[in-house]
């Protein structure tokens, strides 16, 4: 029988197309890059030089930069995939792909890799702005921990994004569900401000969800007063658990076809004379 296309180049090409799509969609680029950057400029200018006693007295900008970096990664991976995949499913794009010889896992892997790639880009961008404008200090000895934390966090939130895409009924619900599940959690997750002195219930709610663990692990790697390599295995373990649970849901519930007879079909019928 005919030989298949080699998987490596196939995956690479698919990632490149996925990247191209990301850059051509102004909304995805805005939410992943511009939005967190705006927060960094705003909050960093307001009180970037204040000291945080509960974090060994680091400057607020040193806390905020990795926090918003986490926000950017979560927006790209979680919101981006949940909304993007659900919309594409509604449009029948996933169904069309399913009818080609492209292996399903290559398609999904390409979407994940593309999201992780833009997570890295936004992370570098955030840190660069933090360093340039707010004198953020990069703690080089903890860079490996920062990279590992970033990759694990991005993977975890990609899996969560796919799981949510698998669970929600249609593309119109996707942005609502994604934002409604994310934004309240972000405010109790040490992304914009530390919750070290917050009431116990706030700390408890935050600690249940994965965003806070991602933020704390990332902020650890930016804290010059911390000794050692900066790996917070406890937080990373929680991220891994959430990620694993999300993978199970996504694999079991993922669908390639629109849930309801799609609006695109109704529109085409309506356009037919």
């Amino acid at each position: 029988m005919a030989e298949h296309r080699a998987t490596g180049p196939l995956l690479l090409r698919q990632v490149r197309y996925q990247n191209k799509l990301f850059l051509r969609n102004p909304f995805s680029a805005f939410f992943a890059l511009a939005f967190p950057l705006m927060f960094l400029l705003l909050f960093g200018s307001l009180n970037g030089n204040e000291r945080i006693g509960t974090r060994g007295g680091i400057r607020f900008a040193q806390f905020l930069t990795p926090g918003l970096l986490v926000f950017a990664v979560v927006s790209t991976c979680y919101t981006g995939l949940a909304v993007g995949v659900a919309l594409n499913r509604d449009l029948g794009i996933l169904k069309r792909i399913r009818g080609t010889p492209l292996p399903a896992w290559v398609y999904v892997a390409a979407r994940i890799l593309s999201s992780v790639w833009f997570s890295l880009v936004s992370a570098v961008l955030m840190v660069a702005v933090g360093v340039a404008l707010f004198h953020v200090q990069v703690v080089w000895r903890m860079l490996p921990a920062a990279v590992v934390t970033l990759l694990l966090g991005a993977s975890c939130f990609c899996a969560l994004g796919l799981a949510v895409a698998a669970l929600i009924p249609n593309g119109e619900a996707a942005p609502v569900v994604a934002n409604f599940t994310l934004l309240p959690v972000v405010f109790v997750s040490d992304v914009f401000f530390p919750t070290d002195n917050a009431p116990a219930w706030v700390a408890a709610v935050g600690s249940f969800f994965p965003v806070k663990h991602f933020a704390l692990a990332m902020q650890e790697t930016f804290n010059p007063f911390v000794a050692g390599s900066g790996f917070r295995w406890d937080h990373l373990a929680v991220l891994a658990l959430w990620g694993a649970a999300a993978v199970v849901v996504a694999v079991r519930r993922f669908q390639w076809e629109p849930r309801t007879p799609g609006p695109s079909r109704a529109r085409r019928r309506a356009a037919t004379p």
């Binding site: 029988m1 005919a2 030989e3 298949h4 296309r5 196939l10 090409r13 197309y17 191209k20 799509l21 051509r24 969609n25 594409n88 449009l91 029948g92 794009i93 169904k95 069309r96 399913r98 009818g99 080609t100 010889p101 492209l102 292996p103 076809e257 799609g262 695109s264 079909r265 085409r268 356009a271 037919t272 004379p273």
Partner: protein, 305 residues
């Protein structure tokens, strides 16, 4: 030479809950043949095609497509089929060229993307983002994406719905050229002329069943059905004046006379001989057989198309 079957369907059933969308159908499509499923909306055409494409699991029956069981969705199977779905989107921000190239890259032996784009008549839209295409142009892009992998078997689910007449004829020519390359084509349509123009054989579906199957010319026995001779009764001639041997099949319909006959050649000879002998002209003289549309409407029980 006996041609092998590209598609073999026996006793296929597909139920959604208690609704049986396909209620036990059988047909075969030979390699290189163009086969059309014709029927009204909701007849079960798309469900049938989607079972053959591997999108749906059948409830019962046997299905073999190019020697594969489509349900298993093997990569080798998908490499040999092309699918033009009834409604499926594309990434709106990619160009025609990018998409066709991307899809071609999924197949081991794709056609040249530029050539495929020209073939479907999108040559001047090569660098246009797909969101700027009109409905008909998007449908042609669907067709391009279906054939870029150079499939042995092409599924076309209502490929020309929403086309203007010239775009339709161009698509027909394209399908014709694919047939000349020896491709097998399974087509669904609710356009009579499309089935008649493209298909070697047609199956008419209604309510989940195949109610008739055959070449467009012979469908529903219309090649052997009684012909109808009609003409306007000449002035001053009564029905009783017409040749006696024809009188049995005669009836009046408004200002015309209709003659049902299973021997049109002989009866026409009698009739025209009679007219020539009397030196009268039979105005609006015509011999007709039931059209495919007549057969279709009768079989599907629809009141109008």
């Amino acid at each position: 030479m006996e041609r092998r079957a590209a598609i073999r369907v026996a006793g296929l059933r597909k139920a959604y809950g208690t609704v049986e969308a396909v209620a036990g159908i059988d047909f075969e499509v030979a390699e290189g043949e163009c086969f059309a499923l014709l029927g009204p909306n909701g007849a079960g055409k798309t469900t049938t095609v989607e079972v053959l494409e591997g999108y749906r699991r059948r409830s019962a029956g046997e299905v073999e497509v190019l020697g594969f069981d489509p349900e298993r969705g093997e990569r080798a199977f998908r490499e040999r089929i092309g699918i033009v779905l009834q409604s499926a989107g594309v990434d709106r921000e990619l160009t025609v060229q990018e998409l066709v190239t991307l899809f071609g890259g999924y197949y081991p032996h794709p056609r040249d993307p530029a050539e495929v784009i020209d073939l479907v008549g999108l040559g001047d839209k090569r660098t246009a983002r797909t969101r700027t295409l009109s409905g008909g142009q998007q449908r042609r892009l669907d067709l391009a994406l279906g054939i870029v992998g150079d499939p042995d078997l092409l599924f076309l689910d209502e490929p020309t719905t929403g086309f203007d007449p010239s775009a339709r004829h161009r698509s027909w020519e394209l399908v014709e050229s694919l047939r000349e390359l020896g491709k097998t084509i399974l087509l669904t349509t609710h356009y009579m002329d499309e089935a008649q123009n493209l298909a070697d054989r047609v199956a008419i579906m209604a309510a989940g069943r195949i109610v008739a199957q055959g070449s467009p010319a012979s469908l529903g026995g219309r090649d052997v059905a009684e012909a109808e001779v009609s003409f306007r009764l000449p002035p001053g001639v009564a029905l009783a004046d017409l040749p006696g041997e024809l009188r049995e099949g005669l009836r009046r319909h408004e200002d015309r006379v209709l003659l049902r006959t299973s021997a049109p050649t002989r009866d026409l000879h009698v009739l025209t001989g009679w007219a020539v002998a009397r030196d009268v002209e039979l105005e609006a003289l015509a011999v007709t057989r039931p059209s495919l549309e007549d057969v279709y409407l009768q079989l599907t029980g629809a009141s109008h198309g």
